[in-house]
């Protein structure tokens, strides 16, 4: 009886620490810092609220998945994605910048969905 209690308690402890860790890492992405960076570096092409109007060949970013935006930015930076404009833009960004930007754009209400 006692040993099952110990097992239960330790599972509880592990789950709680894992959840706390996840909450902490989610908070580590600073949406406000992302917005500041976005207004300065991205808005001219991708629109003030992440909905591009200047040129339809630029993507809308508002509401897009954060992990996809982060992947795209890091691929532009590494050169795995070849694009003259985004290549030079992403070079100027740190990893923290990219995480904040991705979190900021993902937090905006957009028009995109998973409609088939």
């Amino acid at each position: 009886m006692k040993s099952t209690m110990i097992v239960k308690k330790s599972i509880q402890f592990l789950v709680l620490t894992a959840l706390a860790g996840m909450a902490f890492s989610a908070q580590a992405k600073d949406i406000a810092a992302g917005k500041a960076k976005a207004d300065a570096a991205c808005a001219a092409c991708h629109g003030k609220d992440g909905i591009s109007t200047i040129d339809p060949s630029y993507p809308k970013l508002a509401g897009q998945h954060a992990d996809y935006l982060l992947l795209a930015l890091s691929e532009y930076k590494s050169g795995a994605r070849k694009n003259a404009i985004m290549g030079s833009q992403a070079t100027a960004l740190s990893k923290a910048d990219m995480e904040n930007l991705a979190a900021y754009y993902a937090s905006l209400k957009g028009t995109m969905s998973t409609k088939r």
């Binding site: 630029y58 996809y68 694009n83 969905s113 409609k115």
Partner: protein, 161 residues
């Protein structure tokens, strides 16, 4: 011997081996014959080398065929057909149509939402995958199977969602 066909007009032609192609004329789908080969029934198959009824007629027909093809292509470049795109989306929905779907190779992340995205951007992205300017293996394979018209149609379809 090969029968050449476009979507809206059939071009009558004979292909000898791999390098020599003789275009004899063009047949419109609406049964209005612009020109036809004088010796179409020639059993040897060298009909186009024989004297056609009117050489000028053939030249005209050929020019019409060329400009018609160019017109069709220009229409497709100007903007895809969302309705046609709907019929071509079978390769897309298995990932982009499932809420919360994650790509698992080479990295794990949510696949991007594409419904409601700008059409011109979707075209640019698919073209970049096809060309190899974007690294994702699955998307390179899928984009590689698409024509320019397919890409334009799919872009128009998803932008309209």
């Amino acid at each position: 011997m090969k029968w050449y066909e476009r979507r809206d007009a059939a071009i009558v032609g004979w292909n000898f081996g791999t390098s020599i192609t003789i275009i004899g004329g063009i047949r419109m789908r609406n049964k209005h014959s612009v020109g036809h080969l004088a010796a179409r029934k020639s059993p040897v198959g060298f009909g186009a080398l024989m004297l056609p009824r009117s050489i000028a007629g053939y030249a005209a027909a050929f020019m019409i065929a060329l400009s018609y093809g160019a017109q069709v292509q220009a229409q497709q470049a100007a903007g895809g057909d969302a309705k046609a795109g709907a019929d071509k989306r079978s390769q897309c929905i298995g990932c982009h149509g499932i809420p919360g779907y994650k790509a698992s190779f080479p990295r794990v992340y949510n696949v991007p939402m594409i419904a409601g995205q700008n059409a011109k951007y979707i075209e640019a992205a698919l073209t970049a995958y096809r060309k190899g300017d974007r690294p994702h293996p699955t998307m390179r394979g899928i984009a590689g199977s698409l024509s320019d018209a397919d890409i334009a149609d799919l872009a128009a379809y998803y932008a309209s969602r």
